[in-house]
């Protein structure tokens, strides 16, 4: 809840900038196409097509297109999302103005410009405002999807709530977004009533409340910006979209705050988005896994020892990407194929090779990334796996799906507390199709040379073993403990005074 003002502020900022830009672009464009009839059909068609792209896809598309994460791609996607209702209603509003009224205006000697400003625009206003209201509600809703592209919004509650099974957080996010949509919608309506009835007081009241809202929304950021002490730099901590990453991001952030740094957590980003964001300096610090970098970024197919992978990766990151690997955290979170215990017993499954003959009858479930990663290719080719069907789902849902028999095999994370809790068995990988996955702390080049920061984070290195991580994950995933508390639990492990 303490994050609400911050998330709401960001959400409001995203929404209002997108809407105002949408209005500034689409109202003039709409007016233009009512004059130049040849442009009307193509313009509306393009806007309609853009609208059919699902919000999350449009947001995702902006990241590779712009090569950036965060506010800019989110804003651009939301601006595009606001286009159709504003554009269509501007055009409809103007075209619906009674032609005899326009003819009378022309006959009385009004110029085209006077007809537009004194007659057509005022008469089109109710329809135009209705379009803006539709856009407002859409944009507020779609802005919750901006979280995975690295922009803070009320979606942070929803996404992290989904991953950490925190229903309260999800509800807070939903209710806050809905309330924001209602408030903005009603304010726009108030402005419309005020203009059509030429009620100056009402209009002023609406505009003042809108400005107050903007001010209130921005105040956390303004206070943050003005009230900051040395060191002024905000360290941006990134995380991937699963529990372990949320806990680690929180742990890192807590640690940095204790040392006097300001931090900002961007959670729920995909592996490659996160890596690129670090290279661009948009993310300062996050935890990745050696095997992920090895297979996905370095494109290596060989699998040497854990130590060699770590050493080669560290050197390679430093040389090619100017990223500092501060060191391993002390635990490994490998991908593994897990099956139900009773199946393992019944079919004598102990290693992945035992699955090979049965695979054509089995369903395999995995997270958003796995089937697209080279590790899957390697696993599939090494063991000649040909499953009946591959099902992609949210990691949260995988465990329930396998225990309820909806899938037979899942790609589990070895530190996941749910493997034991759901009675799953992880199959061995004797052919070493999968690389090792030591968790490593990565720092971007512009914080790497900060001795206070590397010192603050130094305590994390080799400070978390497999068991601690698994327990922390279990606290969140199974015991319903908050991410903050799980992060505190982890911290106890490396802060001797707390034992």
């Amino acid at each position: 809840m303490k994050l609400l003002p911050d998330y709401l502020g960001h959400h409001l900022l995203l929404t209002l900038i997108a809407l105002i830009t949408g209005i500034l672009v689409c109202v003039p464009l709409g007016l233009l196409v009512t004059r130049v009839k040849a442009l009307q059909w193509p313009t509306l068609a393009v806007a309609s097509v853009l609208q059919t792209i699902p919000g999350i896809a449009l947001l995702a598309l902006m990241v590779p297109l712009l090569g950036k994460i965060g506010l800019i791609p989110a804003l651009l996607a939301l601006i595009i999302y606001s286009f159709l209702p504003i554009l269509r209603n501007t055009v409809t509003g103007v075209l619906n103005v009674d032609s005899s009224v326009v003819e009378a205006a022309r006959g009385l000697g009004m110029s085209d410009r006077q007809i537009l400003y004194k007659i057509e625009l005022p008469l089109a206003l109710p329809v135009l405002i209705a379009g803006i209201r539709t856009a407002t509600v859409w944009v507020v809703g779609t802005a919750t999807l901006a979280t995975p592209v690295g922009a803070t919004s009320l979606g942070n509650f929803v996404f992290s709530g989904l991953q950490t099974q925190n229903v309260a957080a999800i509800i807070v996010g939903c209710v806050a977004a809905a309330l924001l949509a209602i408030v903005l919608d009603q304010l726009v309506r108030l402005i419309e009533i005020a203009t059509s009835g030429r009620n100056g007081i009402l209009g002023a009241a609406a505009i003042i409340s809108l400005l107050l809202l903007i001010g209130a929304g921005l105040s956390p950021m303004i206070i943050n910006a003005s009230g900051s002490k040395v060191p002024a730099q905000t360290i941006v901590v990134g995380s991937k979209p699963f529990t372990e990453q949320y806990i680690l991001a929180q742990t890192i952030s807590d640690r940095l705050r204790e040392s006097g740094f300001k931090t900002d957590i961007r959670s729920g980003m995909g592996s490659m988005v996160l890596f690129e964001a670090m290279e661009n300096g948009e993310i300062d610090c996050y935890v990745d896994y050696t095997g992920t970098i090895w297979s996905n970024v370095m494109k290596r197919k060989d699998v040497p020892s854990r130590k060699e992978v770590l050493q080669q990766m560290t050197a390679w990151l430093r040389q090619k990407h100017d990223i500092l690997c501060l060191g391993p955290l002390g635990f490994e979170n490998t991908y593994g194929l897990a099956v139900r215990e009773e199946d393992a017993r019944a079919y004598r499954l102990t290693a992945i090779a035992d699955l090979t003959p049965r695979a054509p009858e089995l369903l395999i479930g995995s997270d958003y990334e796995f089937f697209l990663r080279p590790e899957w290719e390697s696993l599939r080719d090494s063991y000649h796996l040909d499953f009946k069907k591959k099902i992609t789902m949210d990691p949260v849902l995988m465990y329930r799906a396998i225990s309820q028999g909806e899938v037979d095999v899942i790609s589990a994370y070895s530190t996941d507390g749910r493997i034991a809790a759901y009675g799953l068995v992880v199959l061995e990988d004797p052919r070493q199709a999968l690389p090792p996955y030591d968790a490593v702390l990565l720092l971007s080049s512009h914080v790497a040379n900060h001795p206070e920061l590397t010192e603050a984070l130094g305590v994390l290195i080799a400070g978390i073993d497999d068991d601690s991580m698994r327990q922390a994950n279990k606290l969140v995933d199974l015991d319903g403990v908050s991410v903050d508390s799980a992060a505190a639990f982890l911290r106890n492990g490396f802060e001797p005074g707390n034992f």
């Binding site: 009674d98 005899s100 009224v101 326009v102 003819e103 009378a104 205006a105 022309r106 006959g107 009385l108 000697g109 009004m110 110029s111 006077q114 004194k118 007659i119 005022p122 008469l123 059509s196």
Partner: protein
């Protein structure tokens, strides 16, 4: 006052002609009716005078000035324009509707206000009562009175009217027509109006131009056209009210029995 010389209009680069080589003069204070069936070119002819429709060939002068030498908006502000649909601005009050042309002409607020009151009284509406009303609060007849006042606001000497009373019910229409005649006479307005109602043309006009297929078939005073039309089409059209009157008289005589 208005001189139309050899004017033609084609909407499709000469493939067909909406108006073909039309010429007539209207003297100051005279009322000319353009009559004929739908599509005969009467409305195109009217709209070419204030350049709502640009002529293809020929020349038109209003008050001795070639209309092509005057910017269209300036020309239109000096000519009153009334249409059947009235076209009052629904978002403006009666006062603001009438004040449109004075505002365009840059009149002071006070001068415009006085003019609005004067015109409302002229068209038979109480200024105090109607000034602040919206068009939607007015009856059809009241709306057309305001439309008339709006057209007169800039003090034009010339009025162009396209089926000005066509949308009104017969009783209202008779009242408005009567008032308009009086206003026209008092202000000695030069008027060209389009109608397909022969009785209205005969009652209101000093002269009538009968149009067919873009050409003027006959142009003369009502009495001359009635007694000596000189054109079979004009004769048929103009005798219509008389023939209808005859039929009505016979129905009355027959005591309600079908003929």
């Amino acid at each position: 006052m208005i001189s139309v010389r050899g004017v033609s209009k084609s909407y499709n680069d000469g493939l067909t002609w909406a108006v073909k080589d039309v010429s007539f003069d209207v003297t100051a204070g005279e009322v000319l009716a353009l009559v004929g069936e739908s599509g005969c070119g009467k409305t195109s002819t009217l709209k070419m005078i204030n350049r709502l429709v640009e002529l293809t060939s020929g020349a038109i002068a209003v008050g001795d000035r070639d209309i092509m030498s005057i910017p269209p908006v300036v020309l239109r502000r000096s000519i009153g324009y009334v249409i059947q649909e009235i076209g009052l601005f629904p978002h403006l009050t009666v006062e603001e509707n009438i004040g449109v042309v004075p505002e365009l002409l840059g009149w002071s607020v006070n001068r415009t206000k006085e003019r609005v009151d004067e015109l409302l009284n002229l068209v038979g509406l109480d200024a105090r009562e109607y000034r602040k009303r919206r068009p939607e609060e007015l009856s059809g007849g009241q709306q057309q009175r305001v439309g008339l006042a709006r057209a007169l606001a800039g003090g034009p000497k010339t009025m162009l009217m396209d089926e000005p009373f066509g949308a009104l019910d017969p009783i209202t229409r008779a009242g408005v027509v009567e008032e308009f005649r009086k206003i026209q006479h008092d202000l000695s307005l030069t008027v060209i109006f389009v109608t397909h109602d022969m009785a209205e043309a005969l009652i209101l006009a000093d002269r009538i131009a009968v149009m067919k297929d873009g050409s003027i078939m006959a142009i003369d005073t009502p009495s001359e056209l009635l007694s000596n039309p000189g054109d079979p089409y004009a004769e048929e059209l103009l005798s219509m009210p008389q023939r209808q009157a005859k039929i009505i008289t016979e129905i009355a005589k027959s005591g309600g029995e079908p003929l």
